[in-house]
């Protein structure tokens, strides 16, 4: 076994704080390309009526932030009534397709908004960065504004995980030490809110502008699919994936 990888695994295991964990412990995943996988094709939509996007008046730095901000709690497509930013992942996957090649996690602050509002990342050995004694998946934080932001992450109980400054025009890096959900906000511009979901396997997707998502190349079998949305919370669906087929999942809200 590769000694460096082993040492990294040990180090990462020692650094995982229990509070952050919603997924199984670190690096239980092994790559074993499925011979013929299937896909989970999902849609999350409202049956009929759907919530309007909330618009708030800006109380701080209007020159940079504008006079109004549209909150992204519910981003609903008017035609399909599909809901954006729902994270879907298979519960407890321990083997399967390789992790996708990614360019790392980035969170931009532009016009006092976070971009993207919701994103997923992969908690895997090769994605880990080590700085001094800390190790984790690097989140690059970019401030394109001419005002100061703080980047404050809280766990589900509202306990601070980290709170770092983000100076105008400067990049900062924060290592996310474990799989799980990170809520990020700015205390100076309290409407700013973003979510990063770190998953320790590659079977995850986020619903798009029309409320659809696809999880590809799933080994045939029975799974528990977990869907999470910042306003709606969590829901589970049992799915059976067959080789070479699409398994449809439809979540209809209301009605």
């Amino acid at each position: 076994m590769n000694r460096v990888a082993f040492a990294r695994r040990l180090l990462a295991a020692a650094l995982v704080p229990a509070a952050v964990l919603t997924a199984p412990s670190a690096f239980a995943y092994t790559v074993k390309e499925p011979a013929e996988g299937g896909a989970i094709a999902g849609v999350i939509r409202f049956a009929d009526a759907y919530p309007e996007a909330e618009v708030i008046k800006v109380s701080q730095d209007p020159a940079t932030c504008g006079l109004h901000q549209t909150l992204e709690g519910f981003v609903v497509n008017a035609d399909t009534k599909g809901l954006k930013n729902v994270v879907a992942y298979i519960d407890g996957m321990t083997s399967g397709k390789p992790f996708p090649e990614t360019s790392g996690l980035e969170l931009n602050q532009e016009g006092c908004r976070y971009e993207p509002h919701v994103q997923v990342g992969f908690f895997e050995p090769k994605a880990l960065t080590r700085v001094d004694d800390a190790s984790g998946v690097a989140l690059e934080i970019v401030n394109g504004d001419d005002v100061f932001h703080n980047v404050h992450s809280l766990d589900a109980d509202g306990k601070t995980l980290f709170n770092i400054p983000s100076l105008p025009g400067k990049d900062a890096t924060k290592l996310l030490p474990a799989a799980g959900l990170y809520h990020i906000k700015c205390d100076i511009h309290p409407w700013m809110s973003a979510y990063v979901m770190l998953v320790d396997h590659p079977y995850v997707a986020v619903s798009n502008d029309v409320g659809m998502f696809r999880i590809e190349n799933v080994p045939p079998g029975s799974y528990k699919l977990i869907l999470w949305h910042e306003e709606l919370g969590r829901v589970e669906r049992d799915v059976v994936v067959k080789a070479g087929e699409d398994t449809p999942v439809e979540i209809v809200i209301g009605g």
């Binding site: 306990k159 709170n163 400054p165 100076l167 869907l227």
Partner: protein, 346 residues
């Protein structure tokens, strides 16, 4: 011919004057940078603002230094009077370890930066001649001089002055008893270990004067003008429950019931466990009318030991809130209760 023109002219003149009057409190407010006359800056204040670390980290986004800066965090002008070098170092090293959940980020200052900042912040102080401040005048006047000289407004608000880092004291005399204020001022951390309020080490004559001043604060600071919070809240057109949160802060409901009404603040001899209860339980059983009655008329705390000093009761706030504020406060409290969401997956 003229006389026929005069009435409409007069009318429009009065209208303009009325509109101008309506905006007067807004224009005169600090929000528009036209607070009362500028105070004189001390050299240390200008030096701190020009300090390269303070400039680079843009501390004045949130903190006022001298006559400039934001109001998100405390005013730093007399921070050296209230915080030790040791405390400042601990705070700057890891703010969240000192005050969990604080808005202040961890800047990751180097040793060199820490030393420079602690040194510069420690110089942010004014000499307080206690004997001179305690000489002459009524106890309330002495207390006011102490309040001003210790710069309590760095964290506390009275009327339109100060900020919301600590409890709003506009009505403090209305809701606290003098023996409590004295006990608190002697050693805040002994009373409430997690408090952000430092121990100033006041002498007994100082405590007597401050207590007299605080007990005198029964809302009169707000009566001369439109209430500051209302001005801000209505100007910003906040949703009602946000205005309610300002009322919750202004009345300092949170000093006993905690942030977001979670309870758990020490109240000796209160049944069943010596701490204030979470309001969420009360919210579950009281309807709006009953809730309004409790806020207006106060309520008695249950007592553990009848022989021991009584616990603090919830005072009557009938005199302290108007109808619209009461409605906003109730909306805010209702929004705290575990709400049935309008939308759910099921």
């Amino acid at each position: 011919m003229r006389p026929t023109l005069i009435p409409p002219r007069r009318f429009s003149g009065a209208g303009v004057a009325l509109i101008a009057l309506a905006f007067l409190p807004v224009l005169a407010s600090p929000l528009f940078g036209r607070d009362k006359e500028e105070r004189k800056e001390l050299p240390a204040e200008k030096q701190l603002r020009d300090n390269p670390i303070v400039k680079e980290k843009q501390c004045i986004t949130c903190h006022t230094i001298g006559n400039e800066g934001g109001t998100v965090g405390p005013n730093l002008n007399q921070v050296g009077n209230r915080r030790s070098a040791d405390w400042l170092r601990r705070w700057l090293t890891d703010p969240n370890a000192v005050k969990p959940g604080t808005k202040m980020p961890n800047f990751g200052f180097s040793e060199r930066e820490l030393t420079a900042l602690v040194e510069a912040l420690s110089r942010m102080r004014r000499d307080i001649n206690v004997n001179a401040l305690l000489a002459g005048g009524t106890p309330v006047e002495k207390g006011r001089r102490l309040f001003e000289n210790y710069d309590c407004a760095a964290c506390h608000r009275i009327g339109r002055e100060g900020r919301f880092v600590g409890p709003d004291l506009t009505w403090v005399g209305h809701r606290k008893r003098e023996d409590w204020e004295a006990r608190w001022l002697r050693d805040p951390p002994a009373y409430k270990p997690v408090t952000f309020m430092p121990k100033f080490g006041f002498s007994e004559p100082e405590i007597a004067a401050l207590t007299a001043f605080l007990h005198d604060q029964q809302g009169q600071a707000n009566t001369k003008s439109r209430r500051w919070e209302q001005t801000v809240a209505y100007y910003l057109d906040l949703p009602a429950k946000e205005r309610g949160k300002l009322v919750y802060r202004r009345l300092a409901c949170w000093s006993c019931h905690g942030e977001d009404a979670a309870g758990g603040i020490r109240n000796d001899n209160q049944a069943p466990d010596g701490v204030t209860p979470s309001l969420r339980k009360a919210l579950a059983v009281l309807d709006d009318a009953a809730l309004e009655r409790v806020i207006r008329d106060g309520s008695r705390a249950g007592t553990l030991d009848p022989a021991a000093p009584a616990p603090f009761d919830c005072p009557a706030y009938a005199e302290a809130v108007d109808e619209s504020e009461l409605a906003d406060l109730i909306l805010y409290l209702r929004a705290l209760a575990p709400k049935k969401k309008k939308w759910s997956f099921q």
